[in-house]
Symmetry: C2
Subunit: 125 residues, 2 copies
């Protein structure tokens, strides 16, 4: 992956890590495309940025998600799209155990910015 693209990808991923830590859900507009989909383990697919915002608000405010750390393993460019395979660690408040997951993200450019268009993850064990 060229250095400019790698920097763009890491910038978006960093915004997501920081918005969870700061509970700043407005920043999700910089992470997900307008018609993005989220496919969490053990749940139905969630469609659209507003519904995705509700999902992450619930994850943080009700389920106690306190931090996410993303690690890109691979990124492959497909024209104006691309996919990323990665690993993430989800941490929870109140001493709940952290969760190690793998993820597959379909990226798209929206108004020049690289964003998550389909976001799926599941535990590695």
């Amino acid at each position: 992956m060229n250095p400019s693209l790698a920097a763009d990808i890491q910038k978006t991923n960093k915004i997501f890590e920081q918005l969870v830590a700061k509970r700043d859900f407005e920043a999700l507009g910089q992470v997900y495309t307008q018609h993005a989909r989220v496919m969490p383990p053990g749940a139905e697919m969630i469609s659209g940025r507003e519904n995705i915002k509700s999902f992450w608000q619930t994850a943080v405010n009700t389920m106690g998600l306190s931090a996410v750390k993303l690690q890109t393993v691979e990124f492959e460019l497909l024209g104006d799209a691309g996919f990323e395979i990665g690993r993430a660690k989800l941490e929870f408040a109140a001493g709940a155990p952290s969760m190690d997951v793998k993820y597959l993200v379909l990226w798209k450019r929206e108004n020049g910015d690289w964003k998550w268009h389909v976001d799926m993850w599941s535990p590695v064990s």
Copy 2:
């Protein structure tokens, strides 16, 4: 999606359904690209067609997977690649309960045929 592409996608998906039913694992070469990845729930990622073959052999022969029914919900073309969102029902022998899953598949053309390049699924509940 144009009718020709839709037919190609359905043909590959049908091969997968049939190979599970017939336990014909050699046909996996018509389904997965050589360097494909499988990302099953609750397990680490599996890389490469030979390892994927072992994974499905174990699922069928040891875990009792007896049938898979795939249903495409959406397909979006990305040049010589594309992604599919779908739902599947996994059935198991010996009266074990079936499992409803959602899936995200990254498709690629390999030697002119459309195949699964990254295959991820998880339960919907």
